[in-house]
């Protein structure tokens, strides 16, 4: 009987741990996306009309920057609802 209670409590702790990990990972991953976005703007901001990195640095990074450019393009589609993404990340109802 005691061992069943113990297993039950351990199961609940694991579940709580998993939920907490998933939530913290979500927030950190969202922060990573924001940092990647800042990196993209600094590197390829010229495409959006912002002052950006000297051209030669942009050219040197171009071949490795498919993801950065995709991120910029995605942002164009979601830019109308900037708060929605934030609210969803922090799970505010």
């Amino acid at each position: 009987m005691l061992s069943k209670i113990k297993d039950y409590i351990i199961g609940k702790i694991h579940l709580a741990d998993e939920i907490a990990r998933a939530k913290s990972v979500d927030i950190i991953e969202s922060e990573i996306t924001q940092l990647e976005y800042i990196f993209s703007v600094l590197t390829f901001g010229e495409f959006l009309g912002y002052p950006s990195v000297p051209s030669q640095i942009m050219f040197e990074l171009l071949s490795e920057s498919e993801d950065s450019i995709n991120l910029l393009l995605d942002r164009i589609n979601t830019q109308n609802e900037p708060l929605a993404e934030l609210i969803s990340t922090f799970r505010i109802d």
Binding site: I28, I32, P54, E60
Partner: protein, 288 residues
């Protein structure tokens, strides 16, 4: 590298090409000298009365002259970028779309980088010379050339800092998810670190004792005022002018009081036309 590097800068038309040619001819009497024009409006061919190109031409046993083609250098560089893009986007080759990238070669705003690349090539290919003499383009482009390494380093360091923060966060996510830090190599960070090393090398070289910056002026107020601005701008980015060369000096004209704290060399007006190696040599021996 054993070579001493001499830059000749100043307002357009003050005689940078003539002065750098005179010094080159003079120094080549006892030393191996390579004179290169980084100004796209090349004058060295007219001064030596010989046609020059990207390939160094022997003028005497100790003197080689090159007129760098900056436009070609930029095209060559952008061609390399185009190849990198083709390698990282192999699917383009599958659809025969690589030609669509040709337009990259026409990108504007890379003159100063073309200059830096040309400078780097000459340094690498003529390390045996005792003196490398550079006839520089007019002020604006020369200033961009000198500031390019430190300006680029500011950006690169900021970008490296950002990539490192992203890497740290990814490691945290990986540790939480799978219990250990296991993330893919960041290719952008690798490229940025390579660029940092490259620009640091340029910056250290340009600010080393091996480099001498000579400012060429005339006795007119426009050239003197621009000379002052050049000294100030160079100071802001951590360079100092070593010598002021007053070209076409005439004692009867106004004194050049703006540059008293600098070493000054006064070059009088030549009675003969300074065209051709022999004329340059005769005049150089008489004044230095």
């Amino acid at each position: 590298m054993k070579s001493k590097i001499h830059f000749y800068i100043g307002k357009g038309g003050v005689g940078k090409s003539t002065i750098s040619s005179l010094y080159s001819v003079y120094l080549s009497d006892n030393h191996k000298v390579n004179l290169a024009s980084l100004d796209s409006a090349h004058n060295l061919s007219d001064i030596f009365n010989i046609s020059f190109s990207d390939r160094p031409k022997d003028i005497s046993s100790n003197l080689k002259v090159t007129e760098v083609n900056i436009e070609n250098k930029i095209k060559e560089y952008l061609g390399e970028i185009e190849n990198d893009l083709a390698i990282s986007n192999t699917n383009l080759a599958a659809f025969n779309l690589l030609d669509e990238l040709n337009i990259i070669k026409q990108s504007p705003g890379l003159e100063e980088y073309g200059l830096l690349k040309s400078f780097s090539d000459i340094i690498e290919n003529h390390a045996e010379a005792d003196h490398l003499i550079f006839d520089m383009p007019p002020t604006a482009l020369s200033m961009k050339f000198f500031s390019l390494p430190s300006r680029s380093l500011l950006w690169i360091e900021k970008l490296i800092d950002l990539r490192n923060r992203i890497k740290e966060k990814k490691e945290i996510v990986s540790t939480i998810k799978i219990g250990k830090s296991e993330i893919e190599q960041d290719k952008i960070l690798k490229k940025l670190l390579e660029l940092k090393k490259q620009f640091q090398t340029f910056n250290n070289l340009l600010k080393s004792e091996k480099v001498e910056i000579n400012l060429v002026v005339n006795q007119d107020s426009l050239s003197i005022n621009e000379g002052r601005k050049i000294i100030n701008e160079l100071e802001i980015i951590g360079f100092k002018v070593d010598k002021i060369i007053i070209n076409k000096f005439d004692e009867t004209q106004q004194k050049v009081s703006a540059f008293e704290i600098f070493d000054q060399v006064k070059i009088p007006i030549s009675k003969e036309k300074l065209i051709g190696y022999e004329n340059l040599k005769t005049f150089a021996i008489s004044i230095f």
